[in-house]
């Protein structure tokens, strides 16, 4: 099994696999986000206290949960790249970082836009908001470390160490609302118990979370393909590919 998995570390095979997967991820992401967003914004009932303002949850929660998922994925890829010295894994980590940063940014912006009318402030330095901001800075750190070295093997090592160290922040974000008193509410979607949200609001939210996950995958695959081509531009198969594409 490991041997079979290992064969995908080869750039050419990884490129071909991601090209096959890309359309699936893209179309499914589009379908899920379209259904979830239209259902959530137009058909889901309004909330008993917040009225229609709560609908930002259909963007905010998927973006926030994917910002953390993306970070774990990026750190795992860095970990594999560092221990087994698989370059493809380093390229995966480098491809995820900007997507995760954008997800974090969306979560922060939508949260602020909701916080102004509901809480009465754009921003408050409570544990949840601050740790999510730290997550954005971690992403920016990983991106800039990877970009600032000419030698990409060295760059991946430097960025990888930061990515792995930053994992500590993920449980802090997740449990900040339970460990400390904060202005941010505790999570609505619960895995073990019943969620504290009426089901006709919950389903579109879950659909959008899956959709954002697929979108994260699709953009990562797209960036991963570009990263493979950029790092292997001297290889013969890339040159052949370029000639075929150029002839079209």
């Amino acid at each position: 099994m490991w041997k079979w998995l290992h064969s995908y570390a080869d750039p050419q095979r990884a490129y071909r696999l991601s090209s096959t997967l890309l359309p699936w991820f893209s179309y499914l992401a589009f379908a899920f986000i379209a259904i979830g967003t239209v259902w959530g914004l137009l058909f889901a009932p309004s909330d008993y206290q917040q009225g229609d303002s709560y609908r930002i949850i259909f963007i905010h929660v998927p973006a926030a949960s994917m910002s953390m998922t993306a970070y774990i994925a990026m750190a795992s890829a860095s970990f594999i790249g560092m221990v087994w010295q698989i370059k493809s894994a380093d390229w995966v980590a480098a491809s995820i970082a900007p997507v995760g940063a954008v997800m974090t940014f969306i979560a922060l912006i939508t949260g602020a836009a909701w916080g102004k009318p509901m809480w009465g402030t754009w921003w408050v330095w409570d544990a949840r908001l601050t740790s999510e901001l730290v997550l954005l800075f971690l992403y920016l750190g990983v991106i800039s470390l990877y970009a600032s070295f000419e030698d990409k093997v060295l760059a991946a090592r430097a960025a990888g160490i930061l990515a792995i160290v930053g994992v500590v922040n993920i449980p802090i974000i997740k449990y900040s609302v339970e460990w400390w008193s904060s202005l941010h509410q505790p999570s609505t979607i619960k895995i073990i118990e019943e969620s504290t949200m009426s089901s006709d609001m919950l389903y579109p939210l879950l659909i959008n979370i899956v959709g954002f996950g697929l979108l994260l995958g699709a953009i990562t695959l797209l960036r991963f393909r570009t990263e493979i081509l950029a790092r292997n531009s001297m290889r013969s198969w890339v040159r052949e590919l370029a000639q075929i594409e150029g002839a079209k």
Binding site: Y48, I57, W119, G120, T121, V165
Partner: protein
């Protein structure tokens, strides 16, 4: 697994364990400072673990539930006065002279920032509404007996802003 990989694995795992230990010790040490606000009981009796009580004249945040029926408003201005309480029975009077957020109502959790002017009275400069994790349509809320009343401001009160 060859020995070089094993060495790298040990190094990376040691790094993760080390950083996690440092972070948890740091958070444990800072635990009481990580809280956004005092609860009313903590203002009256001091923090549970350290016994630290805020001084009069100090600028603090207090968080709790607005006591039902405690709110009184000046009909001429935006000035309001209400009591907030917590589960342990502490009560603090909050005064405020500005627009309250949309979610503010009696029975709702709030966080107020202001100056402690006497042991149980805070002159707030900012009142934030805290939202809970429950979401439901109005019909369901009605069936569950949750009352929902929004604050109304008269045109005159708003024009004073």
């Amino acid at each position: 697994m060859n020995s070089r990989r094993k060495k790298r694995l040990t190094l990376v795992v040691a790094l993760i364990v080390g950083v996690t230990a440092v972070a948890s010790l740091l958070l444990y040490a800072l635990n009481s400072n990580m809280n956004l606000f005092f609860t009313p009981t903590e203002i009256l009796q001091g923090k549970k673990d350290t016994g630290i009580k805020p001084d009069i004249g100090q600028r603090i945040r207090v968080g709790g539930m607005v006591t039902m029926g405690s709110m009184s408003r000046d009909p001429e201005s935006l000035y309001v006065e209400f009591v907030i309480h917590d589960g342990s029975g502490g009560e603090i009077i909050v005064t405020y002279d500005d627009l309250l957020p949309d979610l503010f109502r009696e029975g709702q959790g709030i966080v107020a920032q202001g100056i402690l002017i006497s042991p149980n009275r805070i002159e707030a400069t900012e009142v934030l509404a805290k939202h809970d994790e429950n979401y439901m349509p109005p019909e369901v809320a009605e069936a569950m007996g949750e009352n929902y009343k929004k604050l109304d401001y008269s045109g005159e009160q708003l024009s004073q802003q």
